[in-house]
Symmetry: C2
Subunit: 112 residues, 2 copies
DNA sequence: TATAGTGCTACAGTATGTCAAGTGCTAAAT
DNA sequence: ATTTAGCACTTGACATACTGTAGCACTATA
């Protein structure tokens, strides 16, 4: 019932949180502010984005710099551990290009 | 508002569905039946597992063989496109070993 | 002085995942 | 011969997670 801290399991747990991978991918293009990050990612709503960023900051994958409180100006950027996720994103990228030819069908509902 | 079919985006969408990556990882160890797969993965509930498997089969990443209906005996195994996800799992594995030293803290709630 | 933009938070609603139980049947154990 | 135990799931009630839209306090530009 426990994997007794298995790093792979934990890593998957983290990366499967909705939008996390998208956010990391967007951050690979360099530091950004909140709203522009949302735009880069495309489709996240601010509440979720804020939540994911909090988590990523907490884990030390992302660094948040508040340049000024008012007018608000913040920058999010990947730390080393975050940048290392590039290899993961690239692997997904490769796989996607090779194996996805069209839009995915809608996932089957759990109770239907 | 649209990524106009960007394979990376789609791939991330797929892989971030809860348990999908865990399931793929478990299947990399070879064909299994439903219940044993659940045990290998550890923590999925049958409804979710069934749903994910349907989706993976539908996308052609997993092949389902029904050896007998009654007594029920089924085998799930990765097809080629599924096996190719090994590189993704490995990248995550590497990253996890290098960057995760202890259990993750609980994700921050969206509305709190 | 309006307008648009910044980084968020709040709330209600919906989608998504979970828990426990159960089904119909058989192979192995008692 | 009769309990177990196991297979592959499904069902329905519930909890949690995510979404959409609005809004705040404020400034820089037009």
């Amino acid at each position: 019932m426990d994997n007794d801290f298995c790093p792979v399991f934990e890593a998957i747990q983290l990366l499967q949180e909705k939008w996390t991978l998208h956010i990391v991918r967007a951050l690979l293009d360099g530091p950004v502010g909140f709203n522009e990050l949302a735009r880069r990612v495309g489709g996240v709503n601010p509440a979720t984005l804020a939540s994911r960023l909090d988590h990523l900051v907490e884990l030390g994958l992302v660094h948040k710099t508040i340049h000024s409180t008012m007018p608000p100006r913040t920058a999010y950027e990947l730390c080393d551990a975050g940048v290392e996720l590039q290899s993961v994103v690239e692997a997904i990228d490769d796989w996607g290009r090779r194996n996805l030819t069209g839009p995915l069908s809608t996932p089957v509902k759990v109770s239907a």
